[in-house]
Symmetry: C2
């Protein structure tokens, strides 16, 4: 008996495609690993040595230019899949934003296992297709939207994704108040802006009564409709 039996994402991660015999076999080639905020699991450009499922926490996928500019290209939550199966190189770094627990596999072990279990590959395909849609949708934000539109779109996106099981929300106003797993700089890195612009847009929305900022990391949406209008 292994970790999988009492895994909180057992029925939501790609593992849900497997029966109890199969999951034991998968369990045998995986191991759990804990990460602290700021700790990386994969580095851009390195060989693709491992893949993983997110069990707990939030992680960022990022790339950067040679002169230090950074862009966050994805954010993963519990039950999401990490890494590049069937490929030699990792195209982006993966770094924990919060305390996180992941279920790690050697990439080659996982590749072999997946090839023998089409149902698992099917789940992974569905996830990858959804992620591709989501990523392309975000290109519209980066390519065509103003700073205020970006912030509004970002807050709406966060409010939707942080209510999924496994992510903390305050008890009283479940969909309206949430804690960002990002610093201001990281928000800037998601949106392709500077930290100062992000800060100014946050305070502007607060001043105009669209949101409230109870603490550094937390946000309350006071007027969702208005925020949706501003998202463009």
């Amino acid at each position: 008996m292994g970790f999988c039996d009492n895994c909180v994402v057992r029925n939501r991660a790609i593992c849900a495609a497997l029966d109890s015999t199969e999951i034991q076999a998968l369990n045998a080639i995986g191991r759990r690993r804990k990460l602290e905020p700021g700790q990386s699991l994969l580095w851009e450009g390195e060989d693709s040595v491992l893949v993983a499922n997110v069990i707990e926490g939030v992680l960022k996928l990022s790339t950067g230019t040679s002169d230090g500019r950074e862009q966050i290209v994805g954010v993963v939550y519990p039950s999401d899949f990490i890494g590049r199966p069937f490929g030699k190189q990792t195209a982006h770094s993966v770094t924990a934003l919060t305390d996180a627990t992941v279920c790690v596999f050697s990439r080659t072990d996982f590749d072999s296992f997946a090839r023998e279990h089409p149902a698992l590959e099917h789940k992974l395909l569905q996830r990858t297709l959804s992620e591709l849609d989501r990523t392309r949708q975000w290109m519209l934000v980066l390519g065509r939207k103003s700073a205020s539109e970006r912030i509004a779109a970002f807050l709406l996106d966060m409010s939707e994704r942080l209510v999924e099981p496994g992510c903390v929300t305050l008890p009283d106003e479940p969909h309206q108040t949430f804690d960002l797993p990002f610093s201001r700089q990281q928000v800037a890195d998601v949106l392709g802006l500077t930290i100062e612009t992000v800060s100014r847009q946050f305070t502007k929305l607060k001043t105009e009564g669209v949101i409230d900022l109870p603490s550094r990391r937390s946000v309350t949406i006071l007027n969702r409709e208005e925020l949706e209008d501003r998202a463009g």
Copy 2:
């Protein structure tokens, strides 16, 4: 006997995963369709009714805001796969940039067929994973790069992708001269810029001897190293 037997992308598209018996079955549920430049195959937000393989030509994937701003989120070439299998909605429009031929399937027919042919799903998974990597890489361009860096990165990307089989290149300088399948406006829509900025950056590169512009749609790279430096 059907179209597949003499299909020019038979060995490069996801169909390469199938043996001759299987390909006959796939052939039975597909049909060919020709598209003219500007003609769309799928529309953003519509039900996902069909998927396709590109046989010939170049097509764009695009989305836009309600007030008419457009962003091209992907470009597909011969042997690439189009559409959203296993999903209800199409997240972006698909429009031909050149004369194009595609091999079309009903989405539900394709879904059933794919589920019965793991090797096909595996090919599709590999393609989708590569496309996701490529798309995320492009987010760095949209989020963090200046106009001149974007143009340089774009020209280098084009020079690499347009030499693939099925795309026309001039005989004398295979990798250095190529015809863009884009108008200036479409280049702007790929890069998240305006047509004027694109035009100015093109003429700047020409003036400084990095590229030449023999005609409206064609580009010659005179100094690739310099272009790589400018891509950031």
